[in-house]
């Protein structure tokens, strides 16, 4: 026995010696950034393919359709785009793991469009430490443009939630200057951003928030919150929710017979995912905002950008439903990404950031008059305009003009 123990110790010591000898793990950095060569560009994103927010997976599908159609026409300067997507189930810790895997294992050139405010918050510091571009994150938190000193590698894309809440406040000032507002919001950074933005925007006006209820993204329903809000004396309902809960709130409102002006935030304004399941008759008159073309709006049926989108979806993602606006979102953000890649002076991460931070482009599938615009340190928010829309009959109808938010 004693001999065996001694053998074991010798073995362990040998292992340690061996290990330390092999210590210098070779870093095969052969000049140039990883994830890009003459034939390909590797992009990676983390999305909720499962879990409570899995409706957003369509964004990845729409983006993939755009990259595939660009690749079919020869790619970006001869480089084919390879888009790696991983599932995080909308759980921040899994997003952390995915970001590590994409950067350290898959060696992507840039992270593109990773989805969810808490998920991007979780990887924000790490990705910037690694000096990997963290681009066009699929969240409207105002943080992404607020702190580029400490996080120079991160950018948003869509109008941020503060912009959106300013647009609602502007709309109410015109439409209902004495509105008493009841708010349902998701208790996380997303919900608070919109709520606080709205609160700031109505300060000093006659618009008043008279009731607030929150829910957790893991909650099964919001029916008790809706009953409480309906018993307040509000005449306007501001619905700050993600799709599953947007549908629940609309259904609850109909069931309770609570007839007030309903403002539904943009992330919940999907006809396919939210309004149709609860019945279009319950959605009449709901107000929301948009910044890209609704694939079901007959107004755009003959628009060349929309036709290109429909053709590409049919060809590259035949199993996906092109009428889902999240596909259009994915398509539009991928289109912006391709423009940014085309604008690179050389194939490096630095050059990509330069191209992104100094951009002024009209992306054809965005609403006319809305631009993707950044100006290094002066303007760090890509899209800052939206248009009010109202649900009438079978579809959303755009109202008035594009509203440019004063950032």
């Amino acid at each position: 026995m004693r001999l065996n123990v001694r053998i074991a110790w010798v073995a362990v010591l040998a292992a340690v010696a061996l290990a330390l000898a092999a210590c210098g793990r070779d870093d095969e950095e052969g000049g140039g950034d990883p994830g890009i060569d003459d034939d390909s560009i590797k992009l990676g994103g983390s999305y909720p393919f499962s879990g409570p927010a899995s409706a957003y997976r369509s964004i990845a599908v729409g983006a993939r359709a755009h990259f595939k159609s660009v690749n079919a026409e020869g790619g970006v300067d001869g480089r084919k785009i390879e888009f790696i997507t991983l599932d995080d189930a909308y759980e921040p810790p899994r997003a952390v793991q995915n970001a590590r895997r994409l950067i350290q294992q898959e060696e992507v050139f840039a992270l593109f469009n990773t989805l969810g405010t808490p998920n991007n918050m979780a990887i924000w510091d790490f990705v910037n430490q690694q000096e990997v571009p963290h681009l066009y994150v699929a969240t409207g938190a105002s943080s992404w443009g607020a702190d580029i000193e400490a996080h120079p590698w991160t950018t948003g894309w869509q109008p941020d939630y503060v912009t959106e809440s300013q647009v609602y406040a502007d709309f109410l000032k015109e439409e209902k200057p004495q509105a008493k507002v009841a708010v349902l919001y998701q208790n996380d950074a997303f919900g608070e951003d919109l709520l606080n933005g709205f609160r700031d925007a109505v300060e000093g006006t006659d618009i008043e928030i008279v009731a607030e209820e929150s829910y957790e993204v893991t909650d099964p329903t919001v029916s008790s919150q809706m009953s409480k809000l309906a018993s307040s004396d509000a005449d306007t309902f501001l619905n700050i929710t993600t799709p599953k809960f947007s549908a629940q709130a609309i259904a609850a409102q109909a069931k309770l017979g609570w007839k007030v002006l309903h403002i539904l935030n943009n992330v919940g304004a999907s006809k396919k995912l939210v309004l149709e399941p609860v019945g279009l008759e319950n959605a009449q008159g709901i107000v929301s905002t948009s910044y890209f073309m609704d694939p079901e709006d007959p107004q755009w049926a003959e628009d060349p950008a929309m036709r290109e989108y429909y053709d590409a979806m049919e060809k590259h993602e035949p199993r996906a439903d092109p009428a889902d606006p999240f596909h259009v979102y994915g398509w539009a953000v991928a289109n912006t990404m391709v423009r940014a890649l085309e604008g690179m002076e050389e194939p490096t991460r630095e050059a990509l950031m330069d191209s992104i931070r100094n951009m002024e482009e009209e992306i054809p599938i965005l609403l006319p008059g809305i631009k993707v615009q950044m100006d290094s340190e002066n303007d760090t928010y890509p899209i800052e305009a939206m248009q009010i829309m109202r649900f009438q009959g079978e579809n959303w109808k755009l109202q008035g003009d594009v509203i440019q938010a004063p950032h």
């Binding site: 026995m1 065996n4 123990v5 053998i7 074991a8 110790w9 073995a11 362990v12 040998a14 292992a15 340690v16 061996l18 290990a19 092999a22 210590c23 210098g24 793990r25 393919f49 499962s50 997507t85 991983l86 599932d87 909308y90 759980e91 921040p92 810790p93 952390v96 793991q97 590590r100 895997r101 950067i103 350290q104 294992q105 808490p118 918050m121 979780a122 924000w124 510091d125 790490f126 208790n187 996380d188 950074a189 957790e216 993204v217 893991t218």
Partner: protein
Amino acid sequence: MSARTRALLVAGLAMLALVVPFVFGPYRVGQFTLVLVYAVAVLGLNLLVGYSGQISLGHGAFFALGAYTAALLIEKASVPYLLTVPAAGVLCFAAGFLFGVPALRLRGLYLALVTLGLAIALPQLIKRFDGLTDGTQGLTVEQPTAPGWLPLEDDQFLYLLCLAIAAVMFLLAWNMMRGQLGRAVKAVRDGEIPASTLGVDLAAAKTRVFAVGAAYAGVAGALYVFAIGFVAPEAFTLTVSFAFLAAIVVGGLATISGALFGALFIEFVPVYASDVNVALTGVIYGSVLIAFMWVLPEGAAGLPRRLRELAARRRRGDDEPDTAVEGRLTQREGVA
């Protein structure tokens, strides 16, 4: 298994474990670090379920408690990270002890249900105390970095740190289960009335093993924070508790070495399952679990015994089950 083969096996395993950070890239090393973290938690649960026969569905709650203890101590109180490991362990030991006292009256399924309640409630509680925990948004925690005098990358250092702590925890568990506590809880598992007639204090044995299991989960929670650098309530849903439970069964009930295999299983199988087909991750993971139980009902740690049994059967050339081996099978051994 003879002491000699065991010593050789442990030495071989130690050698493999030490080589890992030098042959794999940073992401893989990160995965193996998590394996070590899970192994400690799974070992804690195995002490409770495997050795003492009490079923807990809420082990993830103590894991969460340990993780938040470490995260808050590091971020809000600037405590050196190494001190947070014993702090998390002690706090969870106390929590486990307090929870164990009323839980003593409950047995089997009833205890399982109470612990299930704990695991359901905790993530919600973390969200409610958002002044302290930052709620759903989660807390970003600075990860330990390799000290300057060590020629190691941060991920390598982190792995070796977790390896050292895990090794200590494994050694402690092995020692404990060979000693008085181990004998007592095994006696309780195999029959409470006979055990009490032999002079085992049922209440003390059960509470102690529950608290020890919780302390293991707490230590693992603290290590998890080092490894991930981020905590959020979504990290500690019921899935975690169930994963730990799956891990002890896959690894082998009432075995020390099984915890390591179980941890490997719950870290790697879901990742590969989602690589096969993102939409079918759950189906694939579930099928693998079922297939595994069918092929190796005793878990991975039972593999050598199962091979020996098959070999013995083949040598004798008959299909009748060997009653001697069968007899031994029903009796769970302390260490594989």
